[in-house]
């Protein structure tokens, strides 16, 4: 009897191990999220607040990926659902401050509910068409809601926004949600839940149909699925998760203003999702982390950070339509070849002139930007830990020399990268790692 109990227990253990192995990436992500706020450099209030921002951005960018990457709907007004979710969250928080007995960590659910409701409302109007028309209409709806939020001061607080206090409410298990660390764990929990739900959604039949409608709406219609309905479902789900992100935003900042539904935020999430890569869910997370980090840290160094972000985006559109995730996954087939080492070496060789050219370009842009936006700051400029006097021609000449020299060198090195790539992919193909037709 004890024997059979033992084998049953062992079988269960075996099943558990199999389950854990299949979901090792997710478990690793959970472990990472738990450990991150204690990693040196991120263990201060600044680091934890940065991590919280990244989590919120990741949920928002993932929901945008459901639209653009998975369903092929390009939206210029996705912040509408983020912002309205944020308003729902902040109003719930005010109600809790007033005595409503709901624990604060559930606030994001109100955001998700608001996102879903407004997503269904506007989605019914806008998802009848895809492509360019959808993009235009989403822009119009975004402007409509933004203008409405600025007019309805009592509800939205207009430009100044409305505030709430996340500390005033029931304190379950003695948690006050005052310290950033506690808020971080609430955000991390919802981030992982939202990411898992979105990944699960994509594996349901309707999630597969989203991809089908993106790739060929006519064929999807022929096998009996109405593309408009599939788009509507995808849009509503995406709006729900955007609302969840908005609710997290309300919890994290304790303030929501009209800017939360604005075109700037809609553009930012588009940048995140696209720079990260729209073909992979992971790309959205990668983009959210990269762009948030750029926004926070680059803006410390330079006032021209938006210019760099724009250049980064255009470079992604022109040279890396798959985004960062696309660039990474491109290397997967050649990872095990001997020639991969050569590829890395040529990358290093091409990287040096590219960095030189970039340094020159950055110097030029910084000098011009500084002169135009802060004419009273004087001619002295501190850049790359040197002091430059921009009233003399030297900084200009050095910058142009760096730019030109780097550019010329890069042109010479680039063919080497292509050659190494060719060797590596030939080798991978010979080993059967790439099917013939899938090579670039």
């Amino acid at each position: 009897m004890s024997d059979s109990a033992d084998t049953a227990g062992a079988g269960r253990l075996e099943a558990l191990r199999g389950w854990a192995w299949r979901r090792r990436a997710w478990l690793a992500a959970v472990a990472l999220l738990i450990v991150l706020p204690y990693v040196p450099g991120l263990d201060g209030d600044f680091g934890r607040s940065l991590l919280s921002q990244m989590g919120i951005a990741a949920v928002f960018a993932l929901s945008f990926n459901l639209l653009l990457g998975q369903t092929g709907l390009l939206s210029f007004g996705h912040a509408v659902y983020f912002g309205l979710g944020g308003y729902a969250g902040i109003h719930l928080m005010r109600a809790i401050n007033g005595g409503l007995p709901i624990p604060m960590p559930l606030v994001p659910l109100a955001g998700a509910a608001a996102g879903l409701c407004f997503g269904m409302l506007f989605g019914a109007l806008t998802t009848r068409r895809a492509g360019v028309v959808f993009a235009l209409i989403s822009l119009g709806v975004g402007e409509l809601v933004f203008a409405a939020m600025r007019i309805l001061q009592g509800f939205s607080g207009g430009e100044e926004g409305i505030t709430a206090n996340r500390g005033a409410g029931p304190h379950p298990f003695g948690l006050t949600f005052g310290p950033q660390l506690q808020v971080y764990y609430v955000i991390a929990f919802w981030t992982i839940v939202a990411a898992a739900l979105m990944a699960a959604f994509l594996r349901t039949p309707v999630g597969r149909m989203c991809n089908a409608v993106r790739d060929n709406p006519e064929r999807a219609a022929f096998i009996g699925y109405d593309p408009v309905r599939v788009r509507f479902v995808a849009f509503s789900v995406a709006a729900m998760f955007a609302g969840l992100a908005g609710g997290l935003h309300a919890l994290n900042y304790e303030i929501v203003a009209a800017e939360a539904v604005g075109a700037g935020r809609s553009g930012a999430v588009l940048l995140m999702a696209y720079i990260g890569g729209v073909h992979h869910l992971f790309g959205a997370v990668l983009g959210a982390i990269t762009v948030t980090w750029l926004q926070v840290s680059l803006s410390d160094y330079t006032t021209a950070w938006q210019l760099y972000l724009g250049l980064f985006f255009i470079a992604a559109v022109l040279y890396a339509p798959g985004g960062l995730a696309g660039l990474l996954s491109m290397h997967r087939p050649i990872l095990r070849t001997r020639a991969f080492f050569d590829v890395v070496k040529t990358y290093a060789a091409a990287g040096v002139p590219l960095l030189v050219a970039a340094a020159g370009a950055v110097m030029l842009l910084e000098i011009i930007y500084r002169r135009a936006t802060q004419p009273d700051a004087g001619a002295q400029l501190r850049l790359f830990s040197f002091d430059w006097d921009t009233s003399t021609p030297w900084p200009w000449l050095i910058a142009i020399a760096l730019l030109v020299a780097g550019g010329v060198l890069f042109r010479h090195v680039r063919p080497l990268v292509a050659q190494a790539w060719q060797r590596a992919s030939d080798e991978a193909r010979a080993a059967g790692a790439i099917p013939r037709e899938a090579t670039r």
């Binding site: 235009l136 588009l270 938006q306 936006t373």
Partner: protein, 316 residues
């Protein structure tokens, strides 16, 4: 009352013509290339800034001609060296490219002219009252705005209808492959149309710059309205764009003059709304306050009633 109606109508027509000047270029580019140019309103902004700068150097009248030409050159360069390379990646990539471009143009404008609005005053040569009506004077520059837009459209209409080049462009709009097979360089026609559309937006910027505020945010402020015009009028229809421009221009101008709210309507209807009602705030909003909303409300109504737009034929 008659005074308000007359002046609102005049101002509405001026604003509508301005909208049409920008949206006609957008429509032209869209119907030829299927590209929704998000940087189009940025061309409008560049026109305003260029005319301000050139006007300070050599005067208003040369600026009126040179600024749109400069914008046309920039538009042609965008098509030739940017969009053409993105084209093979599909329409979404094209939109994203122009979106990023709009972002960059704003930053470049900030880099050259700074973040604050510039003092783009009405030039002295056209700053006098044109005529008096009901004891109020009507400024000459608005008359000039009207004259320039109408003149421009007459010129373009004749150029498209009566010249050989216009014939080829119109043919390329509907049958690009056939035009190409007949030996015409269609990519060059693309560049040309992009340049013409940009020049129209630039010209609108020159004459609209001092009527509106010339600042780095002006493209982001006008852009969405122009897109609404294009959707409401029907994608790809120039006539539709004209009707929608006039409609939005006039309705928005009249709305600014109306100081009524839903509350006033309710009191006429003898319906009372309690102060505690959650909709009370909505009812107190005056029409004049809600004027910025009107184009977007029109868009939503149009989507419900007639999704393909006023004069649209194309189902996208």
């Amino acid at each position: 009352m008659l005074e308000i109606v007359t002046f609102s109508l005049l101002n509405g027509v001026v604003y509508g013509l301005l909208l049409f000047m920008v949206s006609s270029g957008l429509t032209l580019i869209f119907s030829l290339m299927g590209v929704l140019n998000f940087a189009h309103a940025s061309m409008f902004m560049l026109g305003a800034y260029f005319s301000y700068q050139i006007g300070r150097w050599i005067g208003f009248w040369p600026a009126l001609a040179i600024a749109p030409l400069l914008v046309a050159v920039i538009g042609a360069a965008v098509e030739r060296y940017g969009l053409r390379h993105v084209h093979k990646q599909g329409h979404v990539a094209e939109i994203l490219f122009t979106f990023g471009l709009a972002y960059l143009i704003v930053e470049c404008v900030v880099m050259i002219w700074g973040r604050n609005p510039i003092e783009n005053r009405v030039p002295a040569v056209i700053d006098f009252p044109a005529f008096h009506l009901f004891g109020t004077s009507y400024p000459a520059y608005k008359v000039l705005m009207m004259a320039i837009s109408v003149g421009m459209f007459a010129f373009l209409y004749l150029a498209f209808r009566r010249t050989r080049l216009g014939l080829i462009i119109r043919a390329a709009l509907s049958h690009p492959e056939m035009v190409s097979a007949l030996g015409h360089d269609v990519p060059r026609i693309f560049v040309l149309v992009f340049a013409i559309g940009s020049a129209l937006a630039g010209l609108a910027g020159v004459i609209g710059g001092f009527a509106l505020l010339t600042e780095p945010n002006m493209a982001a402020a006008l852009g969405p309205i122009v897109f609404v015009v294009v959707v409401v009028g029907g994608l790809g229809s120039i006539t539709g764009a004209f009707v929608a421009s006039m409609l939005i221009g006039i309705v928005q101008t009249f709305a600014v003059a109306l100081d009524y709210s839903l509350l006033d309507l309710f009191s006429v209807l003898r319906v009372s709304v309690g102060r505690d009602s959650p909709l009370y705030e909505l009812a107190t909003v005056k029409i004049a306050q809600a004027a910025p909303l009107i184009p977007y409300l029109l868009l939503v109504v149009m989507l419900i009633v007639r999704p393909r737009g006023l004069l649209g034929t194309r189902e996208a």
